[in-house]
Amino acid sequence: MKESISTSVLRVDSRKKIRGEAEYISDWKFENMLYAKTVRSTKAKAKITAIKLPDIPKDYYVVDRNDVPGVNRMRTVVSDHPIFAEEDVQYIGQPILLVVGPDREIIYKIVSQIEIKYQEEEALFTLEEAEKRSTVFTDYNYKKSDPKKAFEQAVRIIEDEYSTGYQEHVYLEPQGIAAEYKDDTLFVYGSMQCPFYVKNALLETMALPEEKIRVVQTVTGGAFGGKEEFPSLNGCHVAVATHKTRQPVVMIYDRDEDILCSTKRHPSITRFKAGLDEYDQIIALDIDVLLNAGAYNGLSPVVLQRAIFSATNVYNIEHLNVRGRNFMTNLVPSGAYRGFGAPQTIFGIEMMFQDIALILGIDPLEYKMRHLLKQNDPTCTGGSIHEEVKMKEIVQKAVEQSDYYNKLKTNKKYQGIGISLFLHGCGFTGKGETLIKGKIILQKNKDVVILKVSSVEMGQGAETVLPKIVAHTLDIPIEKVIYETVDTGLIPDSGPTVASRTTMIVGGLLRECALEMKARWDEAETFEVSKIYKHPDFLHWDDDTFHGDAYPVHSWGANVAEVEIDPITYELTIKKITAVFDVGVPIDERALIGQMQGGIVQGIGWATIEVMKTANGKLIQKNLTDYKIPTSMDVPGIDCDFVLNPYEFGPFGAKCAGELSFVGSPPAVAAAVENALGKPIKDIPITPEMLMEIDNDH
């Protein structure tokens, strides 16, 4: 019998990585290559009044906005970030110019001699100040049913507010990018998630025709959203530099520079007002989401959309009024990070449910289960839950495997257990997929099959999982499926590697192509099958009113966290995580467990030790000595289990997984801490200082 698709295979890329033979962009060498270093703003908000350059030696160059052949703005959702600063700067770390040349020591010397004069202006930094001064970039609102009337009828109203902090991606490979001309075609190579985003940005900034630009993804050492929109900026930097110098230019950030200037997870505040009926059921919610977008809006509007469309999580609330605002502050721009706004609001609503249940004296899990969505229920945006909801089975497994109720009863003070329920909307939000219209090509070439997609391997396993879908469909060994180099000159645009869409959307298209190829296999020695994504007909979405199916389908899960708090030092130890997920059908169980465990640990980091704050616009944590991510000593044992729930439109029934993994552990850990101390937790990261204060506050 043929093996199940879920049976694990060896990762295609692991051997060369274990042997140290994978070539990341920092390992690339070009003939006559130059290095580039960025000179950045040291002021949070200022006019640039003068730039005084030292004598620039031969073979060294200064590259700035005057060298940009096209538009001096990075193309993204809102194209507001200047490639190089113009008259003003809006955050510390904003790029002003590059120094380019053959010897890095000399470049650093030139950089140290450049004097930039500023006229400083009043800046603002926090969400609270931004709200007071109404520096709103984006203001969204949607309603469901009649919240006004429902609040009038409510017998009890409970209000609360929850906040979350910054998170730095800390992909182990810092940002790196290179550019060169080959004849008159511009090539940009680098560590990235979205080669066509970079290409589209270059089209505008370099004012070159489409056929004169090629973007090539190099082995990417982790990304998590941090290499989604950002490489469009540094990609334009090296492209302008190579345009000026006509030599290859390489720019590799060191960790300090990477942390200083790259995007981060949006700090957030989420406010809830809940209206309860006489049976304690929540009948109405007023939700107000505030995100700190930083100095430029960029990708933040779509992050905000996912934040507000995820704000009711797995619950069916009849009457809703949901508002979301992105605020401008003079801080480094926030951007894409695994979960894309959803972890912030889901943390909020999970804690709200927990806290209301405790006020009412009801078991939190039971209270949550009373409000659970089921199949054919309306979503928060008035669409429909089309898939079967297996949350009861998921929760039952999580509860049994963790011995949840027994521990809840027997835990002593400073020992805690908590559970979170959560979902993730699979693929792009709203009409995203219909705008991108992802295209893929599958090519038969005698006994091998070449797969042409723009999805990149960045650690998540695309280079194994996508060929596996094709191989399994065609009944050929995986070695016979070749993943074409992700080079925009060789592949179609199947969309960016984001939004947990790769396996479900791109893998789904590959499965369709492979099925057709299988039927036509004997037709010819070489032929090509191509497909363009088509949204299932039953899905409807109105982008103006935010009404309809924001997502085609959801993945679901429950996490149980067990914690211990040291009663003297208040150090928090995560003892164990029990996680159960419905991701449809696992395409490769081992690769999937790797994703889930990694996401859970990133979530634990965000909820506990990953503290990042600012003072007067400056990041206080500016390197890996100050900004701590979990080490092997900080991680608990993690049990992962799956509930099968095949999705009709996913390959072999697969749905989304990569981001879902992140969403559940922060509220589970916070709920466990509440349980350990018997006091509410409203903010993450949870630090020992905070726990000491909460515990001693009578």
Binding site: R11, S14, G20, H169, P174, P630
Partner: protein, 156 residues
């Protein structure tokens, strides 16, 4: 200054600034690209090499400190029996995702097993706590080490 040391069992003699980072010496002058720079301040372990058999962060090591010492990078270590066993363990456990931290982990595992051929899980965690991984959550790396120890009994 002129320094001499062995790199992957071969003698090297070169003229360097004594304060130059061994990381740069290895990557830029000697082509040892398995040695990765992840943080440049001794926190992440991506640049771990063996100095006289023990794991050290090459970004924190000045060239002057390796005079007459034996340096091993993955370029040399990958030809050993110990490597093959570690590789098999990591492959089977699914320990690798983005791979940028992997060379440093391989060297740290070798150093750990050199000093303690039969570590407990807690000792493995402690032994690898100088190496950061952002992808896996470590459980599958620890499992990979466990598999290597089972397969390679007697090698260390």
């Amino acid at each position: 200054m002129i320094i001499e040391f062995t790199l992957n069992n071969e003698k090297v003699k070169m003229d360097v600034e004594p304060t130059m980072r061994v990381l740069d010496l290895l990557r830029n002058d000697l082509g040892m690209s398995s040695v990765k720079e992840g943080c440049g301040e001794g926190e992440c372990g991506a640049c771990v090499i063996l100095v006289d058999g023990r794991a050290m962060n090459s970004c924190m090591l000045p060239a002057g400190a390796i005079v007459n010492r034996s340096i091993v990078t993955l370029e040399g270590f990958k030809h050993t029996e110990q490597f093959k066993v570690i590789e098999a363990g990591l492959l089977k456990a699914g320990s690798v995702q983005c791979g940028f931290c992997t060379p440093g982990f391989v060297m740290a595992i070798e150093s750990l097993l050199n000093q303690n051929p039969d570590p407990t899980d807690e000792e493995i965690k402690e032994g690898l706590s100088g190496n950061l991984c952002r992808c896996t959550g470590y459980n599958m790396i620890i499992k990979g080490v466990r598999l290597a120890i089972e397969k390679g009994a007697g090698l260390w």
